[in-house]
Protein backbone atom coordinates (compact mmCIF):
# COMPACT_ATOMS: atom_id res chain seq x y z
CA UNK A 1 0.00 0.00 0.00
CA UNK A 2 2.86 2.25 0.94
CA UNK A 3 4.47 1.59 -2.41
CA UNK A 4 1.33 2.60 -4.30
CA UNK A 5 1.16 5.88 -2.43
CA UNK A 6 4.80 6.46 -3.19
CA UNK A 7 4.27 5.48 -6.82
CA UNK A 8 1.39 7.90 -7.17
CA UNK A 9 3.44 10.59 -5.52
CA UNK A 10 6.29 9.89 -7.87
CA UNK A 11 3.98 10.11 -10.89
CA UNK A 12 2.79 13.46 -9.65
CA UNK A 13 6.40 14.55 -9.34
CA UNK A 14 7.06 13.28 -12.86
CA UNK A 15 4.14 15.25 -14.29
CA UNK A 16 5.33 18.35 -12.45
CA UNK A 17 8.86 17.95 -13.68
CA UNK A 18 7.60 17.69 -17.27
CA UNK A 19 6.89 21.43 -17.06
CA UNK A 20 9.69 23.33 -18.81
CA UNK A 21 9.95 25.71 -15.87
CA UNK A 22 11.32 22.99 -13.59
CA UNK A 23 14.93 21.88 -14.15
CA UNK A 24 14.34 18.63 -12.20
CA UNK A 25 15.41 15.29 -13.60
CA UNK A 26 12.42 13.40 -14.97
CA UNK A 27 11.63 9.91 -13.76
CA UNK A 28 12.38 8.71 -17.29
CA UNK A 29 15.90 10.17 -17.09
CA UNK A 30 16.34 8.68 -13.64
CA UNK A 31 15.45 5.28 -15.01
CA UNK A 32 17.84 5.72 -17.92
CA UNK A 33 20.61 6.42 -15.39
CA UNK A 34 19.63 3.36 -13.40
CA UNK A 35 19.72 1.17 -16.51
CA UNK A 36 23.10 2.64 -17.52
CA UNK A 37 24.54 1.70 -14.13
CA UNK A 38 23.47 -1.89 -14.74
CA UNK A 39 24.57 -2.12 -18.36
CA UNK A 40 28.07 -3.26 -17.39
CA UNK A 41 27.70 -6.73 -15.98
CA UNK A 42 24.36 -7.83 -17.43
CA UNK A 43 23.50 -11.22 -15.90
CA UNK A 44 22.46 -12.20 -19.44
CA UNK A 45 26.19 -12.90 -19.91
CA UNK A 46 25.79 -15.93 -17.65
CA UNK A 47 23.18 -17.27 -20.07
CA UNK A 48 25.32 -16.41 -23.09
CA UNK A 49 28.12 -18.51 -21.68
CA UNK A 50 25.71 -21.37 -21.04
CA UNK A 51 24.24 -21.08 -24.55
CA UNK A 52 27.63 -21.17 -26.25
CA UNK A 53 28.50 -24.23 -24.23
CA UNK A 54 25.23 -25.95 -25.22
CA UNK A 55 25.78 -25.23 -28.92
CA UNK A 56 29.07 -27.12 -28.85
CA UNK A 57 28.09 -29.83 -26.38
CA UNK A 58 27.31 -33.37 -27.55
CA UNK A 59 23.86 -34.12 -26.14
CA UNK A 60 20.59 -35.93 -26.68
CA UNK A 61 19.57 -39.40 -27.86
CA UNK A 62 21.57 -38.97 -31.07
CA UNK A 63 24.71 -37.82 -29.24
CA UNK A 64 25.42 -34.80 -31.36
CA UNK A 65 26.17 -31.12 -30.93
CA UNK A 66 24.24 -28.28 -32.56
CA UNK A 67 27.21 -27.08 -34.54
CA UNK A 68 25.64 -28.11 -37.85
CA UNK A 69 22.38 -26.30 -37.12
CA UNK A 70 21.28 -24.06 -39.98
CA UNK A 71 19.83 -20.81 -38.65
CA UNK A 72 19.31 -19.48 -42.16
CA UNK A 73 22.81 -18.53 -43.21
CA UNK A 74 24.11 -22.07 -43.65
CA UNK A 75 24.93 -24.91 -41.25
CA UNK A 76 26.86 -23.66 -38.24
CA UNK A 77 26.80 -19.98 -39.21
CA UNK A 78 25.79 -18.09 -36.08
CA UNK A 79 27.14 -14.57 -36.59
CA UNK A 80 24.50 -12.36 -38.16
CA UNK A 81 21.80 -15.06 -38.11
CA UNK A 82 19.70 -13.44 -35.36
CA UNK A 83 18.96 -10.27 -37.30
CA UNK A 84 17.57 -12.21 -40.27
CA UNK A 85 14.98 -14.17 -38.30
CA UNK A 86 12.15 -15.09 -38.69
CA UNK A 87 12.63 -16.39 -42.22
CA UNK A 88 11.40 -19.21 -44.48
CA UNK A 89 13.23 -22.52 -44.25
CA UNK A 90 13.08 -24.93 -47.18
CA UNK A 91 13.68 -28.07 -45.12
CA UNK A 92 10.67 -27.48 -42.86
CA UNK A 93 8.69 -25.50 -45.45
CA UNK A 94 7.85 -23.02 -42.69
CA UNK A 95 8.65 -19.51 -41.61
CA UNK A 96 10.48 -19.99 -38.33
CA UNK A 97 11.80 -17.69 -35.61
CA UNK A 98 15.03 -18.33 -33.69
CA UNK A 99 13.55 -20.38 -30.90
CA UNK A 100 11.37 -22.64 -33.03
CA UNK A 101 14.34 -23.14 -35.39
CA UNK A 102 16.51 -24.15 -32.44
CA UNK A 103 13.97 -26.78 -31.44
CA UNK A 104 13.97 -28.08 -35.05
CA UNK A 105 17.75 -28.48 -34.82
CA UNK A 106 17.57 -30.02 -31.36
CA UNK A 107 15.14 -32.61 -32.77
CA UNK A 108 16.83 -33.33 -36.10
CA UNK A 109 20.45 -33.23 -34.97
CA UNK A 110 20.24 -34.35 -31.35
CA UNK A 111 17.08 -36.48 -31.32
CA UNK A 112 15.08 -34.52 -28.76
CA UNK A 113 11.27 -34.60 -29.02
CA UNK A 114 10.44 -31.16 -30.42
CA UNK A 115 6.77 -31.36 -29.50
CA UNK A 116 7.70 -32.14 -25.89
CA UNK A 117 10.01 -29.15 -25.73
CA UNK A 118 7.27 -26.92 -27.18
CA UNK A 119 4.89 -28.12 -24.47
CA UNK A 120 7.41 -27.59 -21.66
CA UNK A 121 6.63 -24.39 -19.72
CA UNK A 122 9.08 -21.51 -19.95
CA UNK A 123 11.76 -21.71 -17.29
CA UNK A 124 11.68 -25.49 -17.07
CA UNK A 125 13.64 -28.39 -18.50
CA UNK A 126 14.86 -28.04 -22.08
CA UNK A 127 13.14 -24.65 -22.41
CA UNK A 128 15.93 -23.24 -20.23
CA UNK A 129 18.44 -24.57 -22.72
CA UNK A 130 16.53 -23.08 -25.64
CA UNK A 131 16.58 -19.71 -23.86
CA UNK A 132 20.31 -19.93 -23.14
CA UNK A 133 21.04 -20.88 -26.76
CA UNK A 134 18.85 -18.04 -28.04
CA UNK A 135 20.66 -15.61 -25.71
CA UNK A 136 24.07 -16.60 -27.06
CA UNK A 137 22.97 -16.61 -30.70
CA UNK A 138 21.45 -13.14 -30.26
CA UNK A 139 24.69 -11.89 -28.69
CA UNK A 140 26.56 -13.00 -31.81
CA UNK A 141 24.56 -10.41 -33.77
CA UNK A 142 24.93 -7.61 -31.26
CA UNK A 143 25.37 -4.35 -33.09
CA UNK A 144 24.09 -5.77 -36.39
CA UNK A 145 21.10 -4.23 -38.14
CA UNK A 146 17.86 -6.09 -38.67
CA UNK A 147 17.43 -7.28 -42.22
CA UNK A 148 14.60 -9.79 -42.52
CA UNK A 149 13.82 -11.23 -45.94
CA UNK A 150 10.44 -10.63 -47.54
CA UNK A 151 11.32 -12.50 -50.72
CA UNK A 152 9.45 -15.73 -50.16
CA UNK A 153 5.66 -15.69 -50.44
CA UNK A 154 5.27 -17.25 -46.98
CA UNK A 155 7.43 -14.53 -45.47
CA UNK A 156 5.10 -11.93 -47.00
CA UNK A 157 2.05 -13.83 -45.78
CA UNK A 158 3.38 -14.08 -42.24
CA UNK A 159 4.06 -10.35 -42.23
CA UNK A 160 0.46 -9.64 -43.20
CA UNK A 161 -0.89 -12.12 -40.65
CA UNK A 162 1.30 -10.53 -38.01
CA UNK A 163 -0.04 -7.11 -38.90
CA UNK A 164 -3.64 -8.30 -38.64
CA UNK A 165 -2.90 -9.91 -35.26
CA UNK A 166 -1.23 -6.72 -34.02
CA UNK A 167 -4.45 -4.78 -34.46
CA UNK A 168 -6.91 -7.53 -33.60
CA UNK A 169 -8.88 -6.76 -30.46
CA UNK A 170 -10.32 -9.48 -28.30
CA UNK A 171 -10.37 -11.19 -24.95
CA UNK A 172 -12.17 -9.99 -21.85
CA UNK A 173 -10.70 -6.48 -22.08
CA UNK A 174 -10.89 -6.08 -25.85
CA UNK A 175 -7.14 -5.52 -25.94
CA UNK A 176 -4.90 -5.74 -28.98
CA UNK A 177 -1.12 -5.31 -29.18
CA UNK A 178 -1.91 -1.86 -30.53
CA UNK A 179 -3.74 -0.94 -27.33
CA UNK A 180 -0.31 -0.56 -25.71
CA UNK A 181 2.06 -0.41 -28.66
CA UNK A 182 0.02 1.35 -31.32
CA UNK A 183 0.61 4.98 -30.43
CA UNK A 184 3.65 7.15 -29.77
CA UNK A 185 4.39 8.24 -26.21
CA UNK A 186 2.31 5.68 -24.31
CA UNK A 187 3.31 4.54 -20.87
CA UNK A 188 2.15 2.17 -18.14
CA UNK A 189 3.08 3.67 -14.78
CA UNK A 190 6.77 4.32 -15.39
CA UNK A 191 7.37 1.94 -18.30
CA UNK A 192 7.65 3.71 -21.66
CA UNK A 193 5.85 1.61 -24.27
CA UNK A 194 7.52 1.61 -27.68
CA UNK A 195 5.45 2.16 -30.82
CA UNK A 196 5.77 -1.15 -32.68
CA UNK A 197 3.69 -0.59 -35.80
CA UNK A 198 6.87 0.79 -37.33
CA UNK A 199 10.56 0.78 -36.38
CA UNK A 200 10.91 2.08 -32.82
CA UNK A 201 14.61 2.70 -33.35
CA UNK A 202 17.86 1.06 -32.31
CA UNK A 203 17.82 -1.35 -29.41
CA UNK A 204 14.10 -1.07 -28.69
CA UNK A 205 11.25 -3.56 -28.97
CA UNK A 206 12.18 -6.47 -31.22
CA UNK A 207 15.81 -5.36 -31.04
CA UNK A 208 15.93 -5.78 -27.26
CA UNK A 209 14.89 -9.39 -26.69
CA UNK A 210 16.13 -11.85 -25.40
CA UNK A 211 16.52 -9.83 -22.24
CA UNK A 212 17.40 -10.41 -18.58
CA UNK A 213 14.52 -9.19 -16.44
CA UNK A 214 15.72 -7.75 -13.13
CA UNK A 215 12.28 -7.92 -11.50
CA UNK A 216 12.31 -11.71 -11.44
CA UNK A 217 15.91 -12.52 -12.31
CA UNK A 218 14.81 -14.46 -15.38
CA UNK A 219 16.14 -14.63 -18.91
CA UNK A 220 13.30 -14.17 -21.43
CA UNK A 221 13.41 -14.90 -25.13
CA UNK A 222 11.02 -13.34 -27.64
CA UNK A 223 8.73 -16.38 -27.42
CA UNK A 224 8.25 -15.88 -23.68
CA UNK A 225 7.81 -12.14 -24.20
CA UNK A 226 5.09 -12.54 -26.85
CA UNK A 227 3.23 -15.32 -25.06
CA UNK A 228 3.26 -13.30 -21.86
CA UNK A 229 2.01 -10.19 -23.67
CA UNK A 230 -1.03 -12.25 -24.64
CA UNK A 231 -1.49 -13.29 -21.02
CA UNK A 232 -1.41 -9.62 -20.01
CA UNK A 233 -4.08 -8.93 -22.62
CA UNK A 234 -6.16 -11.59 -20.84
CA UNK A 235 -5.72 -14.11 -23.67
CA UNK A 236 -4.45 -17.64 -23.21
CA UNK A 237 -0.87 -18.30 -24.35
CA UNK A 238 -0.82 -18.82 -28.13
CA UNK A 239 1.87 -21.38 -27.42
CA UNK A 240 5.59 -21.80 -28.01
CA UNK A 241 6.49 -21.63 -31.69
CA UNK A 242 2.89 -21.03 -32.73
CA UNK A 243 2.08 -19.47 -36.08
CA UNK A 244 0.66 -16.47 -34.22
CA UNK A 245 3.87 -15.70 -32.37
CA UNK A 246 6.03 -16.27 -35.44
CA UNK A 247 3.76 -14.06 -37.53
CA UNK A 248 3.96 -11.28 -34.94
CA UNK A 249 7.74 -11.68 -34.79
CA UNK A 250 7.87 -11.36 -38.55
CA UNK A 251 5.77 -8.19 -38.42
CA UNK A 252 7.97 -6.69 -35.68
CA UNK A 253 11.21 -7.85 -37.26
CA UNK A 254 10.42 -6.50 -40.72
CA UNK A 255 9.28 -3.20 -39.18
CA UNK A 256 12.63 -3.04 -37.37
CA UNK A 257 14.61 -3.15 -40.62
CA UNK A 258 17.82 -1.17 -40.22
CA UNK A 259 17.53 -0.92 -36.44
CA UNK A 260 20.56 -2.03 -34.43
CA UNK A 261 20.14 -5.07 -32.22
CA UNK A 262 21.33 -4.76 -28.62
CA UNK A 263 20.13 -8.20 -27.56
CA UNK A 264 20.60 -9.63 -25.03
CA UNK A 265 19.42 -6.57 -23.15
CA UNK A 266 18.49 -5.71 -19.56
CA UNK A 267 14.86 -5.01 -18.69
CA UNK A 268 12.80 -4.32 -15.61
Amino acid sequence: MNLFAKGAGLLALTLLSALPVMAQKTASQGIDEYRAMLADGNPAELFEAKGEDLWKKVRGPQNASLEKCDLGKGPGVVKGAFVELPRFFADTQRVQDLESRLVTCMQNLQGWDGAEIAKTPFGQGEQNNVTALATWIASESKGHRFNLSQNHQQEKTFYEVGKRLFYQRGGTHDFSCASCHGEQGKRIRLQDLPLLSKSPGDGVGFAAWPAYRVSNGQMWGMQFRLNDCYRQQRFPYPGFGSDATIALSTFLGVNAKGAISVAPALKR
Binding site: D40, G41, P43, E45, L46, A49, K50, V214, G217
Partner: protein, 103 residues
Protein backbone atom coordinates in the same frame (compact mmCIF):
# COMPACT_ATOMS: atom_id res chain seq x y z
CA UNK B 1 27.90 -27.86 -9.08
CA UNK B 2 26.84 -24.24 -9.62
CA UNK B 3 27.18 -22.51 -12.98
CA UNK B 4 30.51 -20.75 -13.64
CA UNK B 5 31.17 -17.10 -12.82
CA UNK B 6 32.06 -14.52 -15.43
CA UNK B 7 35.19 -12.70 -14.34
CA UNK B 8 36.77 -9.81 -16.21
CA UNK B 9 39.97 -8.19 -14.97
CA UNK B 10 41.13 -5.14 -16.93
CA UNK B 11 44.35 -3.35 -16.11
CA UNK B 12 44.69 0.41 -16.61
CA UNK B 13 48.01 1.67 -15.29
CA UNK B 14 48.52 0.50 -11.74
CA UNK B 15 44.83 -0.24 -11.18
CA UNK B 16 43.02 -3.37 -12.29
CA UNK B 17 39.22 -3.34 -12.22
CA UNK B 18 37.82 -6.79 -11.57
CA UNK B 19 34.16 -7.39 -12.42
CA UNK B 20 32.45 -10.61 -11.40
CA UNK B 21 29.02 -11.99 -12.28
CA UNK B 22 27.94 -14.99 -10.22
CA UNK B 23 25.11 -17.40 -10.86
CA UNK B 24 23.13 -17.81 -7.64
CA UNK B 25 19.46 -17.63 -6.59
CA UNK B 26 20.15 -15.56 -3.44
CA UNK B 27 16.85 -16.49 -1.75
CA UNK B 28 16.06 -14.15 1.14
CA UNK B 29 14.13 -16.72 3.11
CA UNK B 30 11.09 -14.43 3.08
CA UNK B 31 9.57 -15.38 -0.25
CA UNK B 32 6.62 -17.76 -0.46
CA UNK B 33 6.27 -20.13 -3.39
CA UNK B 34 3.10 -20.77 -5.42
CA UNK B 35 1.89 -23.27 -2.79
CA UNK B 36 2.26 -20.71 0.00
CA UNK B 37 5.32 -22.33 1.56
CA UNK B 38 8.25 -20.14 2.58
CA UNK B 39 11.28 -20.71 0.38
CA UNK B 40 14.25 -21.15 2.75
CA UNK B 41 17.14 -18.68 2.71
CA UNK B 42 19.85 -19.73 0.29
CA UNK B 43 22.58 -17.20 -0.35
CA UNK B 44 26.27 -16.65 -0.86
CA UNK B 45 27.80 -15.84 2.52
CA UNK B 46 31.48 -15.52 1.83
CA UNK B 47 33.42 -14.24 -1.14
CA UNK B 48 37.18 -14.23 -1.44
CA UNK B 49 39.61 -13.47 -4.21
CA UNK B 50 43.29 -14.10 -4.78
CA UNK B 51 45.86 -12.42 -6.99
CA UNK B 52 48.54 -14.83 -8.19
CA UNK B 53 47.59 -17.09 -5.28
CA UNK B 54 47.74 -14.40 -2.61
CA UNK B 55 44.45 -13.50 -0.91
CA UNK B 56 43.36 -9.94 -1.62
CA UNK B 57 39.60 -9.84 -1.02
CA UNK B 58 37.37 -11.07 1.78
CA UNK B 59 33.69 -10.19 1.92
CA UNK B 60 30.57 -11.35 3.73
CA UNK B 61 27.14 -11.12 2.11
CA UNK B 62 23.66 -11.28 3.57
CA UNK B 63 20.44 -12.24 1.81
CA UNK B 64 19.91 -8.73 0.42
CA UNK B 65 22.55 -9.02 -2.28
CA UNK B 66 20.68 -9.37 -5.60
CA UNK B 67 20.10 -12.63 -7.43
CA UNK B 68 22.89 -13.43 -9.91
CA UNK B 69 25.20 -11.15 -7.95
CA UNK B 70 27.53 -8.63 -9.51
CA UNK B 71 30.65 -7.42 -7.72
CA UNK B 72 33.38 -5.01 -8.75
CA UNK B 73 36.62 -4.26 -6.92
CA UNK B 74 39.85 -2.45 -7.76
CA UNK B 75 43.17 -4.23 -7.36
CA UNK B 76 46.48 -2.39 -7.00
CA UNK B 77 49.76 -3.49 -8.53
CA UNK B 78 48.54 -6.19 -10.90
CA UNK B 79 49.98 -6.73 -14.38
CA UNK B 80 48.61 -8.12 -17.60
CA UNK B 81 48.86 -11.90 -17.44
CA UNK B 82 48.40 -12.11 -13.67
CA UNK B 83 45.83 -14.61 -12.35
CA UNK B 84 42.74 -13.63 -10.42
CA UNK B 85 40.71 -16.36 -8.71
CA UNK B 86 37.35 -15.72 -7.06
CA UNK B 87 35.67 -18.11 -4.63
CA UNK B 88 32.21 -18.02 -3.13
CA UNK B 89 30.63 -20.17 -0.47
CA UNK B 90 26.92 -20.21 0.38
CA UNK B 91 24.97 -20.98 3.54
CA UNK B 92 24.39 -24.55 2.40
CA UNK B 93 28.12 -25.13 2.10
CA UNK B 94 28.13 -25.16 -1.70
CA UNK B 95 31.16 -23.47 -3.18
CA UNK B 96 32.54 -22.36 -6.52
CA UNK B 97 35.94 -21.10 -7.66
CA UNK B 98 36.72 -19.55 -11.04
CA UNK B 99 39.79 -17.94 -12.49
CA UNK B 100 40.59 -15.20 -14.98
CA UNK B 101 43.68 -13.57 -16.42
CA UNK B 102 44.30 -9.84 -16.22
CA UNK B 103 44.08 -8.27 -19.69
Amino acid sequence: MADPMRIRAQAAGDKTTVRVLMSHEMETGQRKDAAGKTVPAWHIQEVTATHNGKQVLSAEWGTAVSKNPFMQFVLKGAKVGDKIAVTWKDNKGDTRIDEATVT
